[in-house]
Structure formats: structure tokens, C-alpha cells
């Protein structure tokens, strides 16, 4: 068992190293930006993976918390002249607090009702982002947001951002993987599988959901705050229902209950339109058809395919082992 874990760890390590070494050398200014954006989306989608994958709660709200984190950090660093590293942390905190308060109210609802109420939240928030100028600059958005300065490391270009975002994404992924193993994660999965059974076993369903929602909000806030400082310009157009649908597709295409799957889902959903760009006006049609085909042939997402291939290989190995042991062959 331990050996297996070590192999898994080594595989991931090699993969990450390869990513760090290969990606900057094969990408140019524009394509590295796409990779950066994919990584940012991955961080926000991780929060969704906690709610939807572990907890089974369909939520569209991530994009609102992303907006709250982004606007908070942008405002604080631009107008209050707070150091960017601190303003990002404050952005995360405000987003998490906001998610906590919203969660206290909305999580009293269940299943599709909760999903619908989060759709309403996204609509309200994008409306406020668009119209409340003192906070968000209205339709013009906020321009010339200060560059990120972490003291020891301040990314000057998009390649610098790539290294930073890879590190942040790995840390967030590890946190989510850790959550999966803890009491909170197990309680959440039990809520997903059977809420009444979970309750009878002493799980505080409401509290568990609120904590998960807050974690999701914090991750989305982090993603939003980083986005604000990376592109130095934010406006309401990013934080709409459509972006929310994109997150959901990332999580579902990648594999709803898998961190690594979510990573590949985020890459796929962000890259696919770029790869298909030569097709120009047929882009979204092919994108849509592609998604339908993915759902037909791999309904559990990329992670599901990987898992089924792995189990097939293992079964074959076991069969071979058994055949050898019995001295029996066809």
C-alpha cells in the first residue's frame, strides 16, 4: 500500500516537473496567458469540486465569490495603498466571510432549491457589480491595479505568474486532497450519499455544508484576487452566469470527485476554444458537440476514464498472476 502511494507521488512529481520545465519553453506570450488563466480557473473550480464532488451540492455561486475577492483586493491595493500580498489575503478573507454569511442563509435549502438560489445569487451579484460604481467601477471596471509584490518574489511577466500559479494551485490541490481525508471531508461525503443516514450518525449536516461552502468561497476569492493583480484590470463581464457554467463544465468534464481530474478539466475547457480557433466561427459549435461526445463516451469525466483503465490493467495483472499460480492457461 505504501509502495503504491510512493509511486503515485513520484508520478505526480514527474508530471509537475515536466509541466514546469516544458510549458514555458513551448509557449509564447499569448499561450502562457491561457495557461495562467486555466490555472486560476482551476483554483476556483476546486472550490466547486469540494461542494459538488465531495458534498454533492450543486452550486453556481463560485463566480460571485471570485468577484468579491477580486474587487476587494483591487480596491484595497489601488485606493487604500495596502501592500498587494496583504490585500490578497484580505480579499480571500472577505470572500470567505461573504460565503459564510450567504451559506448560513442559503444552505437551509436543499438539492435543486439550493442550486436555484445560487443562480439567483449570481444574478444579483453580477447586477450589483455592474451598477454599483463606488465598489466596482461599474461597466468600466477597475483599471491599472497594482502589480503583485510578494517581497521575495514578484512576478514581472506572465512566465513569472506561471510559476507562482503552479505553486498556489498545487498548495490548493493538496489542501482539498487533505480535506477529503479529514473528518470534514468524510462527513461531507456522507451528506452527499445519504443525508438522513449522515444525520442519524451524528453529522451536523448544516454546519458541515456551511464550512465546505466557506472553503469554496475562500478558494474562489483567492482565484479572483490573483486574477485582479495578474491582468491588472477587472470588470463585471467576467463574473457572470456564463463563467459559472464554465466552472461547472471543468469539474464535470474532469471528473467530479477528483482533484487531478479537475485540473485537466480546467486545462481542457480553457484550451479547447484556443486549439479550435482556426475554425473561427464554427468554434463554439464544435466545442459543444465535443462536450456532448465526451459525455456520451466518458460520462464520469477524464478521471473516470483513467480509473476504469487502471482497474482493467490491474484485473489483467491479477488474472495473469492467478493463471501462473494455477499453472493453467487456455
Amino acid at each position: 500500500m505504501k509502495k503504491k502511494k510512493l509511486v503515485k507521488f513520484l508520478v505526480y512529481l514527474v508530471f509537475v516537473l515536466a509541466l514546469i520545465l516544458i510549458v514555458p519553453s513551448v509557449t509564447t506570450g499569448y499561450s502562457i496567458m491561457i495557461v495562467d488563466v486555466a490555472l486560476l480557473y482551476f483554483i476556483a473550480a476546486l472550490g466547486l469540486s469540494v461542494m459538488l464532488g465531495i458534498g454533492g451540492q450543486m452550486t453556481f455561486a463560485a463566480v460571485s465569490f471570485m468577484g468579491v475577492g477580486a474587487f476587494t483586493s483591487a480596491q484595497l491595493s489601488k485606493y487604500a495603498h495596502i501592500p498587494t500580498s496583504l490585500s490578497i489575503i484580505l480579499g480571500i478573507l472577505v470572500a470567505a466571510l461573504f460565503a459564510f454569511l450567504i451559506g448560513l442563509v442559503l444552505l437551509r435549502l436543499k438539492g435543486p432549491f439550493f442550486a436555484f438560489s445560487t443562480i439567483s445569487l449570481v444574478q444579483i451579484m453580477s447586477n450589483i457589480f455592474l451598477n454599483y460604481e463606488p465598489l466596482t467601477g461599474g461597466a468600466r471596471g477597475i483599471q491599472s491595479i497594482p502589480k503583485l509584490n510578494l517581497g521575495v518574489f514578484s512576478p514581472n511577466n506572465l512566465f513569472g505568474w506561471f510559476y507562482l500559479l503552479i505553486a498556489v494551485a498545487i498548495i490548493c490541490g493538496l489542501i482539498v486532497e487533505r480535506v477529503r481525508q479529514t473528518h470534514l471531508g468524510r462527513a461531507l461525503s456522507s451528506v452527499r450519499d445519504n443525508e438522513i443516514a449522515a444525520m442519524s450518525l451524528g453529522v451536523d449536516v448544516f454546519k458541515t455544508k456551511v464550512v465546505a461552502f466557506t472553503i469554496a468561497g475562500a478558494l474562489a476569492g483567492l482565484s479572483g484576487a490573483l486574477y485582479a493583480h495578474m491582468s491588472q484590470y477587472i470588470s463585471q463581464s467576467l463574473f457572470t452566469f456564463n463563467t459559472s457554467l464554465t466552472f461547472i463544465m471543468m469539474v464535470m468534464l474532469g471528473g467530479v470527485n477528483s482533484t487531478v481530474g479537475t485540473f485537466f478539466g480546467a486545462l481542457l475547457v480553457t484550451m479547447l476554444p484556443e486549439w479550435l480557433r482556426p475554425l473561427k466561427q464554427y468554434l463554439m459549435i464544435i466545442y459543444g458537440v465535443g462536450i456532448i461526445f465526451l459525455m456520451v463516451y466518458m460520462p464520469m469525466g477524464l478521471a473516470g476514464v483513467a480509473r476504469s483503465i487502471l482497474t482493467k490493467c490491474q484485473r489483467k495483472k491479477q488474472q495473469k498472476g492467478a493463471e501462473a499460480a494455477n499453472g493453467y492457461s487456455k
Binding site: 437551509r108 435549502l109 438539492g111 436555484f116 444574478q123 467530479v256 468554434l283 459549435i285 466545442y287 458537440v289
Partner: protein, 294 residues
Amino acid sequence: MNFLINLFIPLTISGLAMGVIYALMAMGLMLLIRAIGVLNFAQGDLLMFGAYLTYCLKDQLKLPLLIMWISAFLLFAVFGAIFMFSVYYPMRDTTWRQTFTITTIAASFILKDSVQLIWGTNPISVKPLIAGSVKIFGTKIAIQYLLIIGIAAVIIWAVFVIFEKLYAGRMMQAATQDKYAAEIIGIPTMITTLITYMIVVVIAGTAGYMVAPIFFVNPTLGTLQLSAFAGVILGGFGNLKGAVVGSIIIGLIQSYSTLITTTYKDTIVFLVIILVLIFRPQGIFLGSKISDKA
């Protein structure tokens, strides 16, 4: 007094007209939720598609009105079948219901872009069926609004008759309530699902035909579906009558809220939805089981 009437009657009529459009969409949503348990994110795009298709038949091909209606009806039904065979049929055996949600999102992308490819992105203006306006209590009301209310009322009534009174509708209801048991007693559930899809597209397409003269025909018509979602919640999930009344209330709220604010119109609507969800999660109507929903 006169002032109030002048203010409220147009708002009420336009709110009611938008309300019944939302109601048509909400009915389609509800039928699909009941039939296969999927939230159709392409509902608004089906409406948009209906608007474009009827524009094409009427203004581009210049068909006579009656023939245009019949051909539009048939085309919607055929499109419903295509829709079902592309976003439902291939994944029908999946154990994971969210798959259908994803495929409807994908279908929404495809519809939006195909429409832009065929007809371009510029908004197209369409003449109303009967131009002009009538005077009610001294205020001018466009006839198109009244027409929308009338036609939509007929369609809503027809759907109720199909689903509650006719034998075929009972079969469909049985198939949605318990698929397995329905199959045992010989109900072809695949065909009932197919017919449900056809009805949904016909309703949504007709709604698109009716709103086309009010809004321009353009790819953003799909966003109307969010108000239909709101109507579904307000009426209580899984309740066809509730969805209709809820949608009409949403239309009226939207219309009246323009008295107070225009920029935060949507905020008010969705705030109402959240409040309803919190204080009356079973919807505004009694009679549905609370335990099913919240």
C-alpha cells in the same frame, strides 16, 4: 386617479405578457424535470431558435400565414426529436443524472452559435402579427401584448388538457412517476419521453415567435430563461400549475419594479426568489409535499 390608471394598466399588461412567456418556458422546464429529471439550460436558446426560425419562414421565405404556422409547428416537433436524440438518447443509461445538465449546456452553446452563423449577429426587427394599439381606459396598449396573453393562455390550457385529461397524458405522467412500473404495464417510456421533448420545443418555439416583435430577434433572447427558472422556484418545484402562476408573478414583479428602479430590476426579482426560498421553500402554493422539496 387617472394618473394611476395610466401608470398601472400598461405595466400590468406588459408584465402579464412577459409573465405568460416565462410561464411557457417554465412549463417546458417543468415537463422535462418531471420526465427525465433534468434542468434544461438550453430552454432560452430553444426560444431564441423559435424566434429565428419563424422569422426565416415568414420574412425570408415569405410563406402565407397559415402554411407558415403549420410548417413551423412541424419543424419545431422535428427539432424536438433531434434535440432529444442528441442530448438525451445517447446517455439514457447513465446512472449519473448531471450528465444531462452538461449536455443541455453544450446544446445551448451549439444553438447560439449556429443561429449566429446562419442569421448573423445583428438584431433583426420583426413586424407584429397585428400592428397598432387599442385604448383601454384611455391608455394605449399594443395589440401584440394582448395577442401574446391570449395565445399563451390557449397553449397553457392545451398543455393542461394533454397532461391531465387525455389518456396519452396519463400515460406520460405514469412514465415520469415510475419508469420501471410504467414499462412493466406496457407503456413505451422512450416514446413518451420523445413526445415530451417535442411538446417542450413546440411551446418554447411558439413563445419565441410571440416575443420576437417586442424584443428584436437576437442571440441574447436566451437569457429570458433565468426568469423562467425564477418562476419555477416561486411556484414550487415539480408543480406545473405553480410554475405557470409563479412565472406570471415574476413578470409582474419585473414590470412593477421599473417604477422604483430600472438598473436593479433583476436584483429585485432574484431577491424575491431568495426570500421565497428561505421563508416558503415549498413554493407559494400549498398542496405539494414539503418533504419532497426542502
